[in-house]
Symmetry: C2
Subunit: 290 residues, 2 copies
């Protein structure tokens, strides 16, 4: 439920000036503006599931994007049925100047390349079909000049190989893997709401630099409620974070019954040290390890 002091859950992953948006509840477009990001720089929108708090802001956002005179198609990806849902919602956002390209996830796990980022999907356990997403920036191995030299590749081709492209020289094809070292650890962000904890999530979120996970309830006596409504406890999110060995855990999607989530910061840190109760619009810049 959107509250005066707490916006609905959603995530923007920004890479090379372009954005991937996950979930778009009522008010998301306002928060994007508040953050100073351009609505027109959205490359794709992923929707976890079709509950209003995760999608109700979509028609308004699309209309505002349209007013920014976008003509480039916009990808929207989500559970099976999303095309129909978008069609229904767009009765109040007709005549958009750009095309919407809907993709329905119909296999258990799919992989999407969006603007250099690899987005993976995992079906989770909510009251309606719902997906967890991870956004991955893969990192190639180091370029090894001695290998290029030993293969006799002229230096003018090196930069192409460094980028991962193949080159042809005197009828021979050289691929980048011939001159690159082992691929290095890239960056990974996992976004997980609304769901009960599952074994799959821990595996899916493995080694995330940032794990954004719902913490619907904090107090242990709410467990039954969490089970009935298919949501997750703070404790359960922390257990997933431990298993997945993530670097950092950010809580989101608090129950309206939690007036001030930050009161549970200490409680969460005891369960998983590197955890944070973020405030609205909180952001972090992730960088390669070296």
């Amino acid at each position: 439920m959107p509250l005066p002091e707490r916006a609905l859950t959603s995530l923007i992953v920004r890479y090379q000036g372009r954005n991937i948006l996950i979930d778009c509840g009522e008010g998301t477009q306002v928060m994007i503006r508040k953050k100073g990001f351009s609505l027109n720089k959205i490359e794709a929108i992923f929707i976890t599931h079709f509950h209003a708090d995760h999608i109700s802001g979509l028609p308004g956002l699309l209309l505002s994007v349209g007013k920014s005179e976008r003509t480039e198609p916009l990808k929207i990806i989500g559970p099976k049925g999303i095309s129909e849902i978008i069609k229904s919602l767009c009765v109040i956002a007709p005549d958009l100047p750009f095309k919407i390209e809907c993709t329905e996830i119909d296999k258990n796990s799919e992989s999407f390349m969006i603007n250099g980022l690899r987005v993976e999907t995992l079906p989770v356990n909510h009251s309606v079909p719902c997906y967890c997403y991870s956004i991955n920036l893969d990192r190639k191995g180091k370029f090894l000049p001695q290998k290029a030299v030993s293969l006799g590749i002229e230096q003018k081709y090196w930069k192409h190989l460094q980028k991962g492209e193949s080159v042809e020289m005197d009828g021979n094809v050289f691929t980048s893997d011939m001159v690159l070292g082992e691929s290095r650890k890239g960056l990974k962000v996992t976004y997980c709401t609304d769901t009960r904890p599952t074994e799959g999530i821990a595996e899916f979120a493995k080694n995330s630099d940032l794990f954004v996970c719902e913490g619907m309830y904090a107090e242990d006596n709410k467990l039954e409620k969490a089970i009935i409504n298919k949501h997750m406890m703070f404790r359960e999110a922390c257990e997933l974070a431990v298993k997945a060995e993530v670097k950092e855990l950010w809580f989101t999607h608090f129950s309206p019954s939690i007036k001030d989530p930050s009161e549970y910061a200490e409680f969460a840190e005891k369960l998983f040290e590197n955890s944070l109760i973020p405030c609205d619009l909180q952001s972090i810049e992730l960088n390669y390890e070296e």
Copy 2:
């Protein structure tokens, strides 16, 4: 367009603790909470037209109302087609615990009695079918005891007649108009957006205590834009206010190109003295003249 510093246009008329809501764009439910009003006390929702900024907040609001465990039906009234629109939008707000009673306005002007308030409708001139609404609290004439005495009505019946009810005494029926003086000036609020000015609006808003009217553009060189987009200039709203002899004019629905509408307060006051550029959540208590 909802902006970080400016919510979308909408109006709540509150009478005897119950609310009539007109328009429900993205974020309206949050503003209602911010104001401290209960979502559950909404008697009816009127929608002017089906552009997202006037209706996109509806599914989220309905869902939140549902969470407050309302079971009483909720009236939603708007232009022809509203039933289908609500049906479409409610794909993301299924299983509401209350019934929605949709009424489509299909005559030029209709009258609705909602919780003691009379709501009148007027079709206006926008790019899609759109209505202007007035909310009227009618006021009966003074009770004239000498008339009741001369008719021989026992005193125990007076309070019923004062309330406008009829009473039967010894087989004779007495109606309230027999003992009440001329009906007195009640209260009237008119809400008018999005439209070009029309003669009908001035007539419709006649003698309003509060006239809430769009002021999409202030600067005269925007007139062509206003005509093309079927919106109204500050100047035109003021002209309507003068013709309608309203007590007070509040501007709303400013173009996002107007960064700070209050900069035009002086400009507006020159055109219509009793005008106001309200801030978000601005409210006024209206009382009978005497």
